[in-house]
Amino acid sequence: MDSHRDTPELERLLLRHAVERFYAMEAELLDARQFEAWLDLLDEDIHYWMPLTRNKAFGEWEGELTEAGKDLNWFDEGKFELEQRVKQIMTGLHWAEEPVSRTSHLISNLQVEEDGDGIAARCRFLLYRSRNETETDTFVGKRHDRLKRAPGGFRIAERRIFLDQNVLLAKNLTVFF
């Protein structure tokens, strides 16, 4: 007897579908430079984190990533700080984003689980950036989110971004992941 062929399985599918649509809408906002509208998708207590990656000996994985709240990280911040980044772009004087990047956010390999803490959504991302004449960056990595249900969809309560580069090959990280 296949126990997955009942309502819980259908609910999982519907949830996954809702998250997929949410991410598509989020990508649409970022790629359309609707940064302030994007901020509205973030929970007030969001933790937005991207660690540095170290080369470590086999089995000694513990220090492979720098730790949030303790070490250096590319990002380890909350909503106020992300709002500052958005404001900086909106000044029109943020030379690293002036002219503003053209981005495409792609999401795949989505896995969604709901538990007592909310929704855990894991995916792979590809963020392509073209800027000015010939500047291009391709950021590829893993993203682990924690989402909260909210009116009209979800809010992002935690975003952990694993870029996996040891020496960052882009000259800056002015784009949102």
Binding site: L52, K56, D71, L72, Q88
Partner: protein
Amino acid sequence: MAGGDRKYLGGLVRTSEGRISREVFSSRSVYEDELERLFARCWLFVGHASQVPEPGDFVLGRMGEESVIFNRDRNGKLHVFLNTCRHRGMRVCRYDQGNSRKFTCPYHAWVYSDEGGLIAVPKLESGYHNELDTAEWGLIEARVAEYHGYVFACWDEETPGFEDYLGDFRFYFDDYCRTFDGGFGEWEAFGGTFKWRMPCNWKFAAENFGGDYYHNPSHASVDAVILSPAGVEGRHTYDAVTRARELHRLNICFPGIGHTARGEYFKEDYEYMPTYQEMPVVEDYFRECYAKRRERLGEKARFFGHGGTIFPNVSYSNGVQSMGTWNPVGPHETEAWRIFLVPKDAPDEVKNVLRHYVIRYQGPSGLTEQDDMENWGYAHEGARGTIARRFDYHYGMGQGHEKRGWPAEWLGGDIYATEDVSEQNQRAFFDCWARYLDTPPGAQGARKPSAQRAGKNAEAAE
């Protein structure tokens, strides 16, 4: 010696006319001279002692284009080894950090100890017939100098010791090394090293950190969003303080020495200005440090360093307490490495506030340096064009208006301290740079501070 037959001083570098050729930033042959004549001779920063606290600890470093291993051996001694096997050159260590008593080469398995000796060679008997003198074939080791925990290394035996190399600049590097309470307390590096690539020649960054108050317009956007943790004004921790006081904002350089710095000198003593009102633990910490510093340093507490460049490519920032290197990757690219530090005995709240601040200020995710890098990258493009290269860059700001031994004698020996904006620091940097590059391998005299004392700049003096 007449100026005419030198390629660099008086040639590509004509600071007395306020001109520097764009070739200096973009030419392949200049770059190759730099590797041989500059990076192979100078003291370069490799790491901080707190990154390798225990015997056997190691981290990787970089010197010029090359990878080095910076470690603490089983007896507690610090070493810097070129990260290359003596047999066929394979990297003997590919891990960014770890703890090991030996480094085994992955290629043919020569084994080196944490003290650098070659301690095992496969088939030493059957293959080498015991004819390999293992004592001769240890890892290539650099000279090492630890200065208040900051560790520098140098490949050249002729280069003076690190303290002589600092020369009169020592006062400023000491100021950087002092903890917030004015003593030589212990600093501790946060875990992790920022490493990233930038599309520009390394000297754009080195000269910017060494003294470019003129580039403030680069940072209009970050000033507008108020990055300062005090949340009152500007992007620096001290912006709220400096705007309320009378002070001199100084560019600091020394004739004949390439090290340059920036800082502020308050005209009068002042009481601690509340900065972190919403964070009582942090506020108390800085208030106490301020009082101790003033007690310790007296009148000299009126000087606060902002940052600088230890010649040639080691740049530091006070306050965000960062230390890093601009590593050349060809003339057109730079790999920046940077660590950040906090006083070891500071409360966790203080460490956390500073950590948050620094990673949002500097580096590729930093709101401030992002804009610097944009400018360096496209400025570099301007050094590459066939037509563009026929036209020098202008380095003449404040030429002839440098102020000597001013505004306070204790600010240093043979010092130029000029207020607000001036390109005296860039001129000092490039004079020194040119002198190194005019000196072929094996020849002496890359750096002769005593011979330079008399003149306003090196070119005029010779």
